[in-house]
Assembly symmetry: C2
Homo-oligomer: 372 residues x 2
């Protein structure tokens, strides 16, 4: 057990109660609307935290890599969606996956499908990845012909069972605020429903619809006529979600405790031990400036409210420069701790690879490594 | 041994000959000018790669954390500068450091010095951190009084031996090109010399001067009247250094091999398995857009020239979106490999945590973790 006061290096602090309440809230919402809740585990990446979802009745999960799928399979999960286009070069690894796990694979081109069918014994559920506006990956939602082509190819691969259409409306992260996020969610769901209808019109059996970005699933009261949601970030939230209006500050469940190593009153800045390798270099753009997180002081055994006007101005490999109002800086001493609310919690978890809970328990993840 | 053709996931590829030539060149330059070469090992973070420096006569090194210092101490290094302000909370760890290693510590405030002197048996060399223009950390080079105050405090701590003034002109990374980089280097050296002179005028014994950013040390023909240089990135370089005009493309020694998982000719983009957790989210700003790396095709068992007009447009956790000219996209197939030259190689090494050499050897680092 480690007391927060005894922290010596940048440490990812987890407020377990807040995280569990975030899980409950999303699980209840899906449950009330009769929608399957398949949370994305790429945010927390921890077998131990996964159990908190199991206690909420979750049995199917989403991950972003084959390695993460193996890690959670070893932790007892038996129904796993790998929400990343099947990578041709990993087809032998998919073939070798423990057979007791039902894999859900995501496709957007014919080549991996043909190879899986011709060269392996893979039996899996298949989702077609659809781009409902994010311009990242997936077949364009209006391109019914290409979706149809993939569905026809699936017909000749009986071990691969078509489940439905899957999208991630990641462009919600670029919205201006709650109203635009809700519209983006509704639009993407409507686009998915439209595409599904075109397919049934063409004689294909009805498929499911899977959606799920944290902003949309959190803010939209009705999740719409979908079968499954797959949000991930909602367990912790972060500065970006807070500024988007997705969550109140009190729902943020992680912060990075950083020792103060230098004070620069002449420019109202504190230098923290806490840089790009701890927080990630992910940022929010605020009036054209890059902000790398919010800054809080310790209060009642956790982090307090965000300091007004304070933000992380610059990150190099190990250094973080916090810009503070002068009265906040004046009360700081070298050796104090500050808490940074990361711009993007998923990447911060990936960087730090383990948690310390408010009551001093260490929680490991897929990324935990040996310490020297 | 793994052939490059057999790569299945984002893999950090290292061209050993190019890296060794980069080391030689910098070692020779320092040697010819009679300047001590204390390379920063935070770029490569590998005990095995450290040996290549030893073969060039290097005996003292720079690191950015106590953990990294312990890792390299275990690999036999006996003279280590931790180029990060002494963190009050890690003073007991410094006290417990293996005594056969001579530590060089960096200070910019009195508090850690007082505590080390009062509460520990730490015997170390001390450098005063000076800000010669980077606005990150260190005492302002014009603030002779504060430097003097620290020097006076050092007098009363005989186990802590004053060595000199140390700076990192990190603002060279924001320069427009080679001429401005050379001016920045010269300016920062002149500022350090000026400060040193003020101190001797005030009766303090002469101290050394340690400088060292990769752009300045690479481009400035004369390293100036300094005692020591500490560049790090020069071993690998990266897209940012290339665009700054610091290195030719042929001197870049690392690239990330990424499988192509989807093609989007309608927007001339390829989706790669290779995202923020592999490349880091570090970026270059090009006409107001964020670029996350250059893109190359395989050629003669390594990466070829950067594809004209191609860049990484977007990174999410595991996905990378490469924008390519349409003729380059047309010749690609799903399942091919592309190479990404990272925006910032230090952070990419940190993310991937191990290398694969062009002839298929695996090289580990401080960050290497268990694979599931």
């Amino acid at each position: 057990m480690l007391k927060l006061d005894d922290i010596t290096r940048p440490t990812l602090i987890l407020d377990v109660d807040t995280a569990k309440a975030n899980i409950s809230r999303m699980a209840d919402k899906a449950d009330e609307q009769g929608i399957y809740f398949r949370p994305h585990f790429k945010t927390h990446q921890s077998a131990q935290i996964g159990e908190w979802f199991r206690n909420e009745g979750v049995s199917g999960i989403t991950v972003s890599s084959l390695e993460m799928a193996r890690y959670f399979a070893a932790a007892g999960w038996r129904d796993i969606t790998i929400a990343f286009p099947v990578n041709m070069r990993q087809i032998p690894e998919i073939d070798a996956f423990p057979k007791e796990v039902r894999l859900n694979l995501v496709l957007e081109s014919v080549e991996p499908l043909s190879r899986m069918h011709a060269e392996t014994h893979i039996s899996a559920d298949i989702w077609i990845k659809v781009d409902a506006g994010s311009l990242r990956t997936g077949l364009n939602w209006q391109d019914v012909d290409r979706v149809q082509q993939l569905l026809l190819a699936l017909h000749s691969a009986p071990a691969l069972t078509y489940r439905g259409l899957l999208t991630h409306a990641g462009h919600s992260y670029a919205c201006a605020g709650p109203d635009e996020i809700r519209r983006t969610y509704t639009d993407s769901v409507e686009r998915m429903i439209w595409l599904e209808k075109q397919l049934t019109k063409r004689g294909f059996p009805k498929g499911e619809i899977s959606v799920g970005d944290t902003p949309g699933c959190t803010l939209s009261e009705s999740l719409g006529d979908v079968d499954e949601i797959r949000p991930g970030n909602f367990i912790f939230f972060d500065a970006h979600q807070y500024h988007l209006g997705v969550c109140g500050f009190e729902r943020i469940a992680v912060a990075v405790a950083c020792p103060v190593v230098a004070l620069h009153p002449e420019r109202s800045e504190a230098v923290l031990y806490g840089g790009a390798i701890h927080l990630s270099k992910d940022f929010e753009l605020v009036d054209g400036e890059h902000h790398y997180g919010l800054v809080c002081k310790p209060e009642n055994g956790r982090w307090g409210q965000p300091l007004e006007g304070a933000y992380m101005r610059m990150l190099s490999q190990e250094h973080g420069v916090a810009h503070l109002q002068s009265e906040d800086l004046e009360s700081l001493k070298v050796g104090d701790l500050l808490y940074v609310i990361p711009a993007h919690s998923c990447l911060t978890v990936q960087c730090l690879g383990e948690y310390l809970t408010l009551d001093g328990q260490r929680i490991t993840t897929l990324e935990t490594r040996k310490r020297y």
